[in-house]
Amino acid sequence: MADGSTTGGTWLSGAPARGSAADLLVQNSHYGILVVLVTIAASLAPGFLTVQNFLNLLRSFSFLGFISVGMTFVILCGGIVDLSVASILAFSGVVMALLQHWGIYIGFTNELSHVYPTPFIILTVLALGAGIGLVNGLIITKLKVTGFVTTLGMMVFVRGLAFAVSGGGTIFGVDDFTRYLGRGMVGPIPFVALLWIVTIVAGSFVLNRTPFGRRLYATGENPETAFLSGINPDTYRIAAYVISGFLAAVAGICLTGRLDVGEPRVAQAWELNAIAAVVIGGTSFDGGRGSLGRTVVGVMIIGLIRNVLSLLGVLPSPQEMIMGIVLIAAVVVQHVISRSKV
């Protein structure tokens, strides 16, 4: 992907000047897992290694992918986690569909409303997502509440809000444009996958090639050093949550298009999958170490494990159990290897 070769994960950190064998093993264990998974999948399902299947998989990764990218910003910045992303995703989808049905309230009962054009609706929803992220960031930095508690509260609140605005029900039907966002193809490539890839590239660019990105890394690794170097850590922490909320809204809009409904129950526990993707990729919870490229690999590993389990005919609930084991194993393996290399 965009990058992801070293722990620092960036051209500014440069090549791993001291790379013992164990170092390399730790840093690249996730690639190994990926190769193993692809091999298993390919031997189980003959159609697995086709371009078409790959593109389909890419689409299925994308929705989780967006919030994992946002989660990476938050974790890199030392903000621990953003637990509210899945709720923001669901809320955004509901608002997206709801605003398209505004007509319901002003007389058009069974048609889509054209009172508020779709591009404006999208901008509104994106602004709402970013706004919720902003509130998260402000509570955390200005009121000094821990990120975990703040976003936990926000997770419950926003999920409730999604149910409240939808009246608890599902809002059926969105317009063609929105459906295109979730289902459309650009040539052979699903639009949403393309959008995800663009997001990753843009995100990596911002993280690695702009002062903003390097300051965000600095804030995550050592806020005190950053502060004395003329960086206001609060600015970057808030920005990370805004980005996270914004990308959750992007995912919500696209998922609504894909499902053709606004549904407050979608994406339950996805915030945990996003965290798992970041952790399996190897981005450090301590902040300042890791990269988007690693997260992309993490997202793929999670997606592929599910894919492989389905190919094996494993039912959904044992799948969850296995995912849990994989997550713990990934963390334990990294921990053990990094400790043994002293």
Binding site: T7, G8, W11, L12, S13, G14, A15, A17, R18, R209, T210, P211, R214, R215, Y217, A218, E221, N222, E224, T225, A226, F227, L228, S229, G230, I231, N232, G288, R289
Partner: protein, 504 residues
Amino acid sequence: MNDNPNALLLEVQSLTKAYPGVVALDNVDLDVRYGEVHCLAGENGAGKSTLIEIVGGTIAPDSGEIRFEGTRVSFESPRSAQDKGIAVLHQELPALPDLTVAENIYLSRLPRTRLGVVDYRSLHREADYWLEFINSGIDSRAVFGDLPVAKQQLVSIAKALSLDAKVIIFDEPSAVLTLIELERLFEIIKNLRKDGKGIVYISHRLDEIFEIGDRVTVLRNGAVVATNPTSDIDKNDLIRHMVGREVHETRLRQRFSPAQDGTPVLEVKNVTRRGVLENVSFSVSAGEIVGIFGLVGAGRTEVARAIVGADAVDEGVVTVAGTELRKHNPKRTLRYGACLIPEDRKLQGLLLDKSVRENVALPSLRDLTVGRVLLDRRAITVRARDFTEKLKIATPGIEQRSKFLSGGNQQKVVLAKWLSRNMELFIFDEPTRGVDVGAKEEIRRLIVDLAESGKAVILISSEIPEILMLSDRVLVMHSGRITGNVPVTEASQEALLAYSMGSN
């Protein structure tokens, strides 16, 4: 108890402890008699803390022995020292603030009833006995964390007594006490002495030593300089012992003559941060090096942090290059050309996991861009290479992660961060601490060069020779106040030390 007034309760013989690059204790002898208050004095880093940590069982000596009541002992842990009867009362008292006083005293040995639950009645009876024994006036049912610091200290004394401690070591107890509280403490110490306990009392305040001490041992550079009865010596003797012979190091600095008309680069006016800084005022001119000396906790670092806006102050104004700054932060101060090279390079100066290149560029990212958005990779590389060469940073390359560099080279990377920007005022906080001799010399040279090129410099240091070698003027701090402001020509080691202990 022993009736012989000269019998030795605790004997320390030729204790030695070395750390890489520094001998913390060098053949130290010390003895404590029954019913004696034995004071320890010495500058920062003289070895007092190391000595009591060994006696208290926290660290093990490299060689030497400890005799307790005539028999040789060795401690593997603070617990085993405690069991023998040696209690160390640290400045920061380890305690569980949410438990009661009695629970804190008897934590590891709570009395139990036959059912195995805590027997609170006898717990409080025991605790109250010891609290009353020292006339503390503390209720054993009070919550520990609710007590003022002075009373918490009394609780630790009660705890020490309940453990049947024979030697009680006080590590700068007065640092956190008011005068009245201190008098009470002295009363208690005098009573303990009457009971035949051996007291070791460490303090930076010379007056206390003469008030409470029977004998005083002075440490310098890890070695004992002298042990005398306090009745045989006076304050000046003590200071002379602490400072030692004049170290002959040549001044690196040409005499500074301030420009007649120039406004100062930095003006600090009445800066007060409650409980930390009190009414601090001074100024620094272009081309001048102002040294700030003081003992640990005197408020030197706090002044530096207040200047750059790293900590908020309650009152006062900082003026940098003619601009008054209030409620500023380092980001803003930086724009006016003032920077702080912090004391702890690992925790405050560097991103240890990032490359030399990234660290050097960190404060100047905005200037190293194309169109303010895209980082200019080439400019960053050139700058990092330049300064790696200029400062002779020993590294395999600018891509090396800074955690793999030696202390001196790490410090140079921190310096490069600021030298590569155009700053007017440099505040160095202990720039040569933990740095090898060669790098020390280079860093000092660099500081002088900065001043000679017209920059204003503040040099905070615990090393008097370094201050005398580099500064034009010396400020001395004590308890958050500036107690001395002398031209270097009139400064001597004795005078600076006297100011730093709050006596003139």
